[in-house]
């Protein structure tokens, strides 16, 4: 009896501990503010998704709310007067999206009801629907919807809404839509905005913006034709054949801020597993177009590289699964990130040295960190996602695949890789940034950049080289600590630029406002140069000199005699100049002919600085930023000067070009 009690007690204890650890394990990663339960059906003929969603939303603010705001992104492609299309005309005049009737899209909210307690009739608030345009007042834009609640929602209270909607999908446009029987369904459901910093943050859909949403749980039933293969955010929990030619899939995911899915009868499905010494196992699913079968291993390998390096550097990927989608040709859905699912992009006959699909795969998978888990506001602080991610994917690409190579696709078919000419993946960002360095501040509302290229360059390219410069300034260890701390502190939350700056200052113990004020909130150029160098023997004394009470005339020859016995002292001057407006501390390396080197550190503040050296050796060269840490420097060639310039490279490259021209001329004797 006693033994039974002991055994029973131990069993109870073990079960309790087990249950407790299960509870601990299930502790939400995020605050789960916006939670959706959906039941939708795809009509592939009409290109329509219809159904309903139950939104359970927590008022996480400290104020009562009597209005709720929703994104209706698909209305961006409803007509040619929407803000999205108007933006497109403005920022990329040559790239106006198609506007044929069957290719347009819209989303209709048929009803919206507040679900009360069981047995209580839902309150229909459909009549309160109003389209609002918080960004530009464009009356034709219906991408933001407002509803009014009959009673204000108190702080920390939850509201449950039952929303019926029909979404007509566009012909593949701006990341979403269909192409024949390929469907990529993104930004497709009525999605509540974010209430933070004391106001609704629910921007209209702009041509140069991505998204912003609260975290929550998505439990979605998707009904699609049975011959379709489905991929979606989260994990497939069940699949049931309806017996009418359709199948219902249930996908479920906690702690994500969006839900996207794709369906096509043509996908090839491959599964693999990412394993690591200490990071959790992740199931990798690849949905591949049949004509891209040859890219299977390359997609999977690139995804695993991203999971590995981002995981090691910033923090583990917390979801059990990730789905990589190879988009259909010209579907407009390639190269985009969504929670636990992303699209890549591949082009036939692309050698591995061109890093395609590797580059896009790593970039989009990497967004799982800087967009998926760090919930930055991409409408307002795009660089905090794209910049961080471009910097990170450059690092992964370099680690996993080495340098980039020059390449060219001839006749739009065959790619030739010029392996003699390699470069760091991030150099491409510098190239893009240089012409736009003074155009816009990096931190800006995405639709307020001068044009689409400026948005892109400031968010991606400048974002990346800013992070590289920061890393090089802080050093690898401190920098790694900064990024890891920032990620760990702000994951599943909505950080602002200042939050990142605070982390940098906390970890480094330095005031870094000078860096961020100039680089992130400013738009000046950074350019340090060696202005002048000189080196000559110390001047001999010549003229009248008063010595020991007597005036003597010295010709200089007297000292010359001395010099024959003593070594010659050279006076060398180096002038370093700040040519840009950005002030940045720089190192200057001065090298002498005897191999001796001196490194000076200049605060870089005044317009120039002169260094003078008196040494028994001639100056050989001087270089500012000798370790090439400051990626933001727009002119790297002027960073150095030497007393012995080399002419050989100019001859070498001129001869190479001359050969091309000779051959060019000879080729065109064809016409003579």
């Amino acid at each position: 009896m006693g033994r039974k009690v002991i055994v029973g007690f131990i069993t109870f204890l073990l079960v309790s501990v087990g249950a407790f650890s299960c509870l601990l394990a299930q502790e939400p990663l995020s605050k789960r503010i916006a939670n959706y339960t959906m039941d939708v059906r795809l009509d592939p003929e009409k290109k329509v998704v219809s159904g309903s969603e139950v939104l359970t939303w927590l008022n996480d603010s400290e104020v009562e709310l009597s209005e709720l705001y929703f994104h209706l992104y698909l209305n961006a492609f409803k007509n040619n007067m929407t803000t999205f299309i108007a933006d497109a005309r403005r920022v990329y005049p040559g790239r106006i999206p198609r506007l044929k009737k069957e290719e347009l899209s819209y989303i209709d909210v048929e009803s919206i009801k507040i679900i009360g307690e069981e047995g209580v009739e839902p309150i229909d608030i459909t009549p309160t629907i109003e389209y609002v345009q918080p960004d530009d007042g464009n009356p034709y834009d219906q991408t933001v919807m407002k509803v009014t609640l009959p009673q204000p929602l108190p702080p920390q209270q939850t509201i449950k809404l039952d929303i019926s909607f029909t979404a007509k999908l566009p012909l593949g446009m701006a990341r979403t839509g269909f192409r024949d029987d390929y469907f990529f369904v993104a930004q497709w459901f009525p999605k509540i905005g974010v209430f933070y910093e004391g106001a609704w943050n629910c921007h209209q859909y702009h041509y140069t913006s991505e998204f912003f949403a609260d975290y929550g749980v998505y439990d979605v039933n998707l009904t699609v034709p049975s011959n379709f293969i489905l991929g979606a955010t989260g994990v497939c929990r069940s699949k049931k054949d309806n017996g009418d030619g359709t199948t219902i899939y249930n996908h479920y995911q906690e702690d994500v801020h969006d839900f996207t899915w794709t369906a096509s009868p043509h996908y090839l499905v491959y599964e693999d597993t990412f394993t690591h010494e200490y990071l959790p196992e992740v199931k990798v699913i690849l949905l591949l177009q049949p004509y891209h079968k040859m890219f299977k291993d390359r997609y999977i390998e690139a995804t695993k590289h991203a999971l590995r390096y981002y995981g090691e550097w910033y923090g583990a990927y917390p979801y059990p699964q990730i789905t990589c989608v190879d988009p259909a040709y010209r579907s407009g859905s390639g190269g985009m990130e969504y929670p636990t699912l992303f699209t890549g992009g591949a082009y036939w006959l692309t050698p591995i040295e061109l890093r395609s699909p590797e580059g896009v795969t790593i970039h989009e998978c990497g967004h799982s960190w800087w967009y998926g888990m760090i919930g930055s506001n991409e409408f307002e602080d795009a660089w905090m996602d794209e910049g961080f991610n471009s910097y990170s994917d450059d690092r992964v690409l370099e680690k996993a695949y080495g340098p980039n190579y020059f390449s060219r696709r001839f006749l739009q078919i065959f790619s030739i890789v010029f392996k003699r000419f390699s470069y760091k993946p991030t150099w491409g960002s510098i190239s893009a940034y240089r012409p736009y360095a003074k155009l816009d501040d990096m931190s800006r509302l995405t639709w307020e950049f001068m044009d689409g290229t400026s948005y892109h360059i400031n968010s991606y390219s400048k974002g990346a080289i800013t992070m590289w410069t920061l890393e090089n300034y802080l050093g690898p260890e401190l920098s790694a600590k900064v990024f890891k701390t920032y990620f760990q502190r702000w994951k599943f939350r909505h950080p602002r630029p200042q939050d990142f700056i605070d982390v940098v200052e906390e970890v480094t113990g330095q005031d870094m406002s000078w860096f961020f004020d100039q680089i992130v909130f400013g738009s000046n150029e950074l350019d340090y140069a060696i202005e002048r160098i000189s080196s000559s023997p110390v001047a001999k004394r010549q003229g009248y000199f008063d010595e020991e009470g007597e005036r003597a005339f010295i010709t200089g020859e007297e000292e010359g005699e001395k010099e024959e016995k003593e070594e010659v002292i050279y006076e060398s001057h180096v002038i370093v100049r700040r040519q840009g407006e950005v002030v940045f501390p720089v190192e200057v390396l001065v090298t002498f002919e005897n191999g001796e080197q001196e490194k000076k550190v200049w605060d870089g503040e005044y317009r120039w600085v002169r260094y003078t050296f008196n040494k028994p050796t001639r100056l050989q060269s001087a270089e500012v930023d000798p370790d090439h840490k400051i990626f933001l420097d727009i002119n790297y060639t002027n960073n150095s000067k030497t007393m012995n310039p080399r002419k050989l490279p100019a001859y070498k490259w001129a001869f190479r070009w001359m050969f091309w021209l000779q051959h060019f001329l000879e080729t065109f004797t064809f016409f003579s």
């Binding site: 024949d180 177009q289 004509y291 891209h292 040709y329 010209r330 036939w348 006959l349 020059f406 060219r408 001839f410 006749l411 739009q412 078919i413 065959f414 030739i416 010029f418 003699r420 000419f421 390699s422 470069y423 760091k424 150099w427 510098i430 190239s431 240089r434 060269s621 270089e623 790297y636 060639t637 002027n638 960073n639 150095s640 030497t642 310039p645 080399r646 050989l648 490279p649 001859y651 070498k652 490259w653 001129a654 001869f655 190479r656 070009w657 001359m658 050969f659 091309w660 021209l661 000779q662 051959h663 060019f664 001329l665 000879e666 080729t667 065109f668 004797t669 064809f670 016409f671 003579s672």
Partner: protein, 325 residues
């Protein structure tokens, strides 16, 4: 007359005229130098007295290249300089330009130089064919320019006529087929369709360009051999000749073309092995480039010489058979 006999004797004649190769090479170098000097100057200015000189001696620096391109972005032809035109890139770049007419986008400086070179070579074509057809078959500057002057007017008219056909190909066929490829490719299920169509278009385009080129080669040959005056008539007869002897004319043309490709491959394999890190190696690379250019000129001369043989041989056979009949 078989194509191999025509080729063999054609090569012999070309090899007898080595001075002609070198003359054509010198002209080619001199014309190329017209733009190479400003490019050299731009490179020198860009590298200046920076340490970049050291780095570029040993290898390549993307950041310098990027800055160079940016600095000279408004200067037209200088920005055509790129690592992708080095080594085998030279051939692919120029062949692509020939097939697609991309050279029209190269800016006025390059196009003017190209036009000058083409005009010079219209003059030289008369000299080459005149010497090859003369009893001595021996190159002299005087003879070369004398023949060149004799045929320049007629060859220039042939150039205008062929130019119209090339123009039709570049300005009508290329946009039409590009549009077609985009339309069909745009609605296709994969990018492979557009690429295969592009490949087919490339092959067809090359075939048509080569055909026009060959026809006008024979028109020039007919003009020299028969001292023809009406270029329209010579072209018509050249078309007749080419199509009547389609296998032989095409066979010879493509065989010599393959020889040209072999030279390209040999150049392309050797060139990267010359590291160009010392003045001597840079000079060696330059010499190797000129050796290839000489081979390229040799191929052009072999076209003329062998096609002349084929034409004369087949005409002779025709006369013999007509006499016999």
């Amino acid at each position: 007359m078989g194509i191999f006999k025509a080729l063999r004797t054609g090569i012999k004649r070309v090899n007898k005229n080595k001075k002609m190769w070198f003359f054509l090479l010198v002209v080619n170098i001199l014309v190329a130098l017209v733009l190479t000097f400003p490019l050299y100057s731009a490179l020198k200015t860009s590298i200046g007295d920076s340490l970049m000189g050291e780095r570029l001696t040993k290898g390549f620096d993307y950041r310098w290249y990027d800055e160079f391109k940016y600095k000279f972005r408004d200067t037209g032809f200088i920005t055509l300089w790129s690592p992708t035109i080095v080594g085998s890139g030279t051939f692919f770049s120029n062949v692509e330009s020939l097939a697609t007419g991309r050279f029209f986008q190269f800016g006025p400086t390059i196009l003017v130089l190209m036009a000058v070179y083409v005009l010079l070579n219209i003059l030289f074509a008369g000299g080459i064919l005149g010497i090859f057809h003369s009893p001595e078959e021996k190159f002299t500057i005087k003879g070369f320019f004398s023949f060149g002057g004799t045929y320049f007017n007629r060859f220039f008219r042939l150039f205008i006529m062929s130019g119209i056909l090339y123009g039709i190909l570049y300005f009508l066929a290329v946009p039409y087929f590009s549009g077609l490829i985009n339309r069909i490719g745009g609605t296709a299920a994969s990018e492979r369709v557009a690429m295969v169509l592009g490949l087919i278009f490339g092959v067809v385009m090359f075939f048509l360009l080569f055909l026009v080129n060959m026809i006008f080669d024979y028109a020039k040959i007919r003009t020299v051999v028969g001292n023809g005056k009406s270029m329209l008539k010579e072209t018509g007869k050249a078309i007749g000749f080419v199509f009547k002897n389609f296998g032989k004319t095409m066979g010879l043309y493509y065989f010599i073309g393959v020889l040209g490709i072999v030279f390209m491959v040999i150049y392309g394999v050797v060139e990267p092995q010359i590291s160009q890190v010392t003045p001597l190696l840079v000079l060696l690379a330059f010499v190797w480039q000129q050796v290839y250019m000489l081979a390229r000129i040799w191929v052009r001369l072999t076209f003329f010489s062998s096609q002349l043989n084929l034409f004369m041989g087949l005409q002779k056979e025709k006369k013999v058979s007509e006499t016999a009949a």
